[in-house]
Symmetry: C2
Subunit: 232 residues, 2 copies
C-alpha cells in the first residue's frame, strides 16, 4: 500500500480518529487494487475476508435467489461496504461487482477485527458507520413497501438532482437496467415509468435527466426526509 493513497482513506469518517499506529497496522496489511468492469468482488455466502473501500469507480451490491437477481445498493467513492459481515465474522449477505473500472482498498477482516478490539476510537467510528448503513437500508425498505414503482423513480430523480447540487440536468450514474433493479422494477417498467413522468416535466436523453419544474415532480413524489434524506 503506497504512502500517497493514505490521505483519502484516512479522511474517511471510519478511519479519521484511529490512533496512528493502529491505522498504520491496518494499511500495512491492505491492498490497493484496480479492477476492470463487471468483476465479481465478493459472492454472497462466502466468509468475510476483507473490508472493501471504494476509492474510485462504482460498485453494486446485489443478491440472488431462485434464479432471480436484484440490486441492493449502489456504492460510489469514497465509501466502504460489507462492514457488518466483517465485524460479525459472518458470511456476506450480498455479492458485489464492479460497474466500471474501480480502485478498491482491501483490508483483511482479521486486521479490522483486531484494531476494532484494541482502538476505542475506531470502535466508535465503526458503530457510527454501521448505524448509518442500517438507516440506509431501512429507508430503502420503507420506499419499497410504501411506494409504487413510479413514486420510487420520481423520488430517486429528486435525490439525484439534490446530489448534483440542484442542477436542472444531471446524469443517472448507472445503467438503467441496474437502476431498475435497484428501484425494484423491471427495465421495461422503468422505461414506461420515465414516459409517465414526462407530463411532470421530466425529460430523459440517454443517461441525462432534465427536470423542468421540480415543484411539479415534488407534487407527485411527495419526498420525505425519513425516506429520502441521506443526512438524516
Amino acid at each position: 500500500m503506497l504512502e500517497r493513497d493514505f490521505p483519502e482513506i484516512r479522511a474517511l469518517p471510519l478511519f479519521a480518529e484511529i490512533a496512528p499506529e493502529n491505522f498504520e497496522a491496518l494499511m500495512r496489511g491492505a491492498y490497493l487494487q484496480t479492477f476492470p468492469p463487471q468483476i465479481e468482488l465478493i459472492r454472497e455466502g462466502d466468509p468475510s475476508d476483507f473490508l472493501h473501500v471504494v476509492v474510485e469507480g462504482a460498485v453494486e451490491l446485489f443478491a440472488a435467489w431462485n434464479g432471480r437477481e436484484t440490486v441492493m445498493q449502489l456504492v460510489h467513492p469514497v465509501s466502504t461496504f460489507i462492514v457488518a459481515a466483517t465485524i460479525r465474522d459472518a458470511p456476506y449477505l450480498m455479492s458485489a461487482r464492479t460497474l466500471e473500472r474501480a480502485r478498491i482498498v482491501l483490508i483483511p477482516s482479521q486486521d479490522i477485527r483486531a484494531v476494532f478490539a484494541a482502538d476505542p476510537a475506531f470502535a466508535r467510528a465503526v458503530v457510527a458507520e454501521l448505524a448509518q448503513c442500517y438507516r440506509v437500508v431501512v429507508k430503502h425498505t420503507k420506499g419499497l413497501k410504501l411506494r409504487n414503482g413510479l413514486e420510487r423513480l420520481a423520488n430517486h430523480l429528486l435525490r439525484q438532482r439534490a446530489a448534483a447540487g440542484g442542477a436542472p440536468a444531471f446524469e443517472l450514474e448507472v445503467e438503467k437496467r441496474r437502476l431498475s433493479a435497484f428501484l425494484g422494477m423491471t427495465p421495461e417498467n422503468l422505461s414506461r415509468a420515465f414516459r409517465s413522468l414526462e407530463p411532470y416535466g421530466v425529460k430523459v436523453d440517454g443517461a441525462t435527466v432534465r427536470i423542468a419544474d421540480p415543484a411539479e415532480l415534488i407534487r407527485l413524489a411527495r419526498p420525505s426526509p425519513l425516506i429520502d434524506d441521506s443526512s438524516v
Copy 2:
C-alpha cells in the same frame, strides 16, 4: 428500577459485558414501565430519547408515508429496538406501538451514549447488536425484492415452525393483518395466499398453523440461509 429486573436485561448480549459500575449507571436512569396494547411508544421523526428493551409482550415497528402504513419489524422479548437512532442521536425512522400488554425498559439515550463512549466492552456489544440489526433488515429486503407474496408467506411459516422447535403445529404470534403488512401484502391477499398453500399441506385455523409435510412446503418456499436463517 427494581433490583429483581436486572438479571434478564443483564443477560442480554448488549449488556452482558459492561463494567458493573457502568451497568448500574444505566439502570439508575432507566424506567421499567408496563403499557397496555395499542400504545404508540415512539413516532418516526421524533428525536431519540430512550433506548427501548422489550421484556414482556410484543411491539411492532411501523412506518407511514402518504397515508399508507406498513410493518417493518415485529419485536418479541427479550430484545432492544432503535439502537441506531440512539447511537447516532438521529430522529427515529420508524414508529413503534405495543401489540399486547408489554413491559418495557426505557434507558435514556444520553446515558447510553455516555456509557458507550466510556465502556469499550459496551461499545463492542453495541456494534455486534447493530451489525445484527443491519443484517436482519438486509434479509427482509432481499425477501421483498426477490420473492412474491406467496413465497414470502411460505418462508415465514417455515421460519416460525423452526422457531417453535419444528413442531407440526404452531401459533402465528401476531394478528394476520399485521403479518400481512410485515410481509408486504394486503390482508386480503394474505388470506388468499394461505388458501393457495393448502395443496402444500398447510392448514390454518385462526392463529394456529399446521404443516402436514414440511418437505412439500420447502419445495415451494426454497428457503435460503442468507435470507431466512436468523443466526447467520
